[in-house]
Symmetry: C2
Subunit: 580 residues, 2 copies
């Protein structure tokens, strides 16, 4: 019999005494580790926030009081205390309960959140609605120090400060972003920690917030005391809470970056079952960059707080030295900075995950493309996946390929990727985005090294009747489809996602009656529709394949391929159906 | 003979003495007013920055030293001093020289800029490039107080602070955004002004910057003195300069908001020749909101620092009271805040210009659409125009219509707009975006009031052979095209830009062989391509019309219509050519 057994809602927690809650905290940590070790997930942020979360639910009354968890990286204890502990105890529960806040799961959640730096803005909206509707309750945002550097967070703070009403912003300062923090504001956080919140020079006070500091946010009694004090406060308040990331799990306390998020692991040893194969696009990219930088100090690698996503370990970052810049959680700055590095004579490469490149549309358009600076953006992990609905990587093609001036390349193989990357880095004419492939494929006798003939498609196999235009990682799928077709089809690697090779497409009209497009992303607004538009006034038939416009949520990728008709069998069946 | 005659480059300025430069300042002001009064443009910001600009070019050596002007609202004096005074004196010059910085115009400009809050990030890139390439020069960003609230600016400051090298950020504090400022940071600017920069609580120092304050930035001698002092500084510095917006033109000094930007005007009286017709979509929207709010206090109008764009004058804003929120230059926050207002039980309407909605892709996707909160976003000024390349409004359809869950409506008439707006505000199921039309058109006997049958197109006229699907403001164009066609075409108002009415399109197959789509925006990734994709496997021919994927720059709208084949004659000609 554990205390966790007794807690089915925050009400149950309120009946416990301090000693019981301390035991409960240990049990919550075990539950977190249980889930993470079995299915992977955020480790350090959740372990560090246990006491703060218990104190919040002990003092406040959710869902009447409303807590908004930034980015959801620290929402597990909250989930455990709000009726969702099954998600941390049983396999079925883990499959059901996601790793992110979700109002469809519980009335104690208010938003589906997986991108950073949004909590303060969202809390502002809840607070303003409360005031207009003459309601009385507390609105609380919990935001990590790492998320503070995101522009949306700063916009939120600026507005929260003038709400003239109750809003409590808990800055959970664990001295880390996903990796280490970057930027001037972290100097101020350090000064505030060192002075126990007493320093006059205080960025939060400068904005007009009331401010309180808690030196040990893992001390439950302290947290309860301070939260009781600030409950029902009538003005905007920042509660700066110093916590230990990874608290209670030695490995995570020691190696904070590795244990921010982890694959399933053995709790005793910390060893993960998952290993990236030695040959992968991250290693290929890093090896290229390291060699290149050794010879050319004008090359700069830029990343926004997700180096691990690209295999840029602390060792590798150290090796790149001043030629690597982590700008913190600041994707917008990342793009503008990269564009200006190119204008200043450098050869910059901004590495960003497909899901997060969404934060930079206007910067890609205005700061980069409009200025035609020869910078390179590498978009990682683009494609259909079983990801959480907040981390889908299927929207980058519609997002990027319709911005004027940008050249968006989709290599199909290791050799083509390497050639495109080197061309993009060395050329001086275009702003180039490259979609890193997600499938290993080698091309023997590969020869190209020049991509300056924009929108020139490459015919990989000449056939008849049907042509398959397969972008990027779906080239392999085209080969599989071809195998199942009665007549040998033409297979085309378009290479460029940003335009149409009119001559190539016109040539197809001579001896083809059907063109199929395959792309590993949303069809709407994507590459294939450009082909459909081109052939709109012609006799050529066109079938576009890709992801449906939807936020899928942790659906197995093979199920998604079936749903979207992206298996060789279903594609061939669609062709046959059409030809009937 | 004037001093302006003598200045053809910053070198000429350096030969002048203080008295001469003061006269030059007056002449520059006259030149600014000359341009603005004749072709319209930014008035107040340019008049306020004259002395700072003279001092900058007197002390620094551009283009070796590099100045990045935020948003370009204050770049006229810089243009005048860097060989482009013709742009302020002659009609031909005005047509040639744009109102924004542009490296294609002059080596003294480094970026094409028209969206705010980007200068610090861009300057960071130039500074980092300088350091990597072992060059020595000053990098200077000039940013207005209004632009500070934009997330990208704050991301830039956070990174600039840790550059460990020369970067000079001039905060041009004229106590105004386009309208008044909003947010906590402006309390700190006020405190700093009131204490002549001496207050301990200083947001810039908190980030780690060196900091200096100039109380009268319109005092040339003071500005020259301080710039000489900071030239070649080795660390990141914020130079906080207090200036008077509109300086030297009484009307602009008095009514700062009206004179931020103005249409052509009479210099003596300040009267503008341009008048909006009484019936316009801004007035229709405001009248609706005012009436609605009188009865329903849960309605909130949100805007990000551009109330004038929507006819929300200071009087109107005052009338809306607490039901109007200007979040400052903070479009990302605007969307998240709006989404949360809806979650909190309010009926929020976020009004944003098409060009600036680009800054919110991820917020529209993650903060709004993923959460399916019943908020309303009104996109204003969408469509092809003769705007500067930095202010095009042609990209919102590809941007918005491919985000899952969002319902993007394109009304064709006053009556339909009013009905859609009221439906969107009152319904509780969808996140709705409405593209405000840009042409006045009335529909007699208009009856609809329910748009909950998503993607249901409306047949406006039943014809045969050819169907024209005309979205939003281009419905009028469809009528004109129909007039010129030998057979009466079917005309369809799709109403929804976010999807396809499959049943409607299938019905067309019975007695039509050609479908034409018209949309007032970029074709690539837009509405028409969805129709082309739908008919891809069928016998129906499709012709898509819309704007080419390009950054056009101050091209007369009628020329663009010709370029894009968007006149009735050219459309009919394209149809005839295709049918041959």
């Amino acid at each position: 019999m554990s205390y966790l057994d007794l807690v089915n809602s925050p009400e149950d927690l309120k009946k416990m005494n301090m000693d019981e809650m301390k035991v409960l905290a240990d049990e919550i940590r075990q539950a977190i580790l249980n889930r993470d070790s079995q299915i992977g997930g955020h480790v350090g942020p959740n372990l560090g926030i246990v006491e703060t979360t218990i104190a919040l639910h002990y003092v406040f009354d959710t869902p009447r009081d409303k807590i908004v968890w930034d980015v959801s990286h620290q929402c597990y204890p909250h989930k455990i205390l709000t009726g969702r502990k099954e998600g941390f105890l049983t396999a079925e529960g883990m499959a059901k309960i996601s790793g992110y806040t979700n109002q469809d799961e519980s009335e104690h959640d208010f938003f589906k959140v997986g991108h950073t730096s949004t909590s303060v803005s969202l809390a502002c909206g809840l607070a303003k609605a409360r005031d207009l509707l003459k309601q009385k309750h507390n609105v609380i945002a919990v935001i990590g120090d790492g998320s503070l550097s995101g522009g949306e967070a700063m916009e939120g703070f600026n507005n929260a400060a003038v709400l003239n009403s109750n809003i409590i912003i808990i800055v959970n300062d664990n001295e880390m972003s996903i990796a280490e923090n970057h930027g001037g504001l972290y100097k101020n956080l350090r000064l505030l920690r060192e002075t126990k919140g007493q320093a006059e020079c205080n960025m939060f006070k400068a904005l007009g917030f009331e401010y309180l500091y808690v030196d040990d946010g893992n001390n439950l009694a302290d947290m309860i005391e301070v939260l009781k004090k600030v409950k029902d406060i009538k003005v905007p308040l920042v509660l700066h809470v110093h916590t230990l990331k990874g608290k209670g799990y030695e490995l995570a306390e020691k190696n904070k970056e590795q244990w921010h998020w982890n694959f399933p692991f053995d709790i005793k040893t910390g060893k993960t079952a998952f290993e990236m194969p030695e040959e992968n696009y991250n290693n290929i990219t890093y090896d290229y960059l390291e060699k290149k930088i050794a010879k050319d100090k004008s090359i700069v690698v830029v990343n926004a707080a997700t180096p691990g996503v690209f295999g840029l370990s602390p060792e590798r970052r150290a090796k790149l030295g001043e030629n690597f810049v982590d700008v913190g959680i600041a994707e917008e700055h990342g793009v503008a900075f990269t564009s200006a590095l190119a204008k200043g004579g450098c050869k910059p490469i901004f590495m960003v995950m497909s899901s997060f490149v969404q934060r930079t549309y206007d910067q890609l358009s205005q700061d980069l493309a409009l200025n035609e600076n020869p910078a390179v953006v590498l978009v990682g992990w683009g494609g259909i996946s079983g990801a959480d609905m907040t981390h889908l990587c299927t929207f980058d093609i519609p997002l990027i390929s319709n911005i004027p001036n940008l050249v968006y390349l989709a290599p199909v193989s290791v050799e083509e990727y390497s050639a495109m990357l080197d061309w993009a880095v060395e050329q001086k004419k275009y702003s180039v985005v490259i979609r890193m492939p997600n499938r290993m494929l080698h091309e023997k006798n590969f020869v190209e090294d020049d991509y300056s003939e924009i929108n020139k498609y490459k015919i990989m196999q000449k056939g008849e009747k049907t042509a398959i235009i397969a972008a990027g990682s779906f080239y392999g799928l085209a080969l599989e489809v071809a195998d199942k077709m009665p007549d040998k089809p033409t297979i085309i690697n378009p290479r460029y996602l940003t335009g149409v090779d009119e001559k190539c497409l016109e040539n197809l009209e001579k001896d083809h009656s059907l063109v199929i497009t395959l792309e590993d992303g949303e069809i709407d607004g994507g590459f294939g529709e450009k082909i459909a538009r081109f052939y709109g006034p012609k006799n050529m038939k066109v079938l576009n394949f890709g992801a449906k416009k939807e936020f899928s949520d942790r659906v197995n990728v093979n199920k998604l391929y079936e749903r979207y008709h992206l298996t060789p069998e279903l594609i061939v069946a669609d062709i046959e159906k059409m030809l009937k």
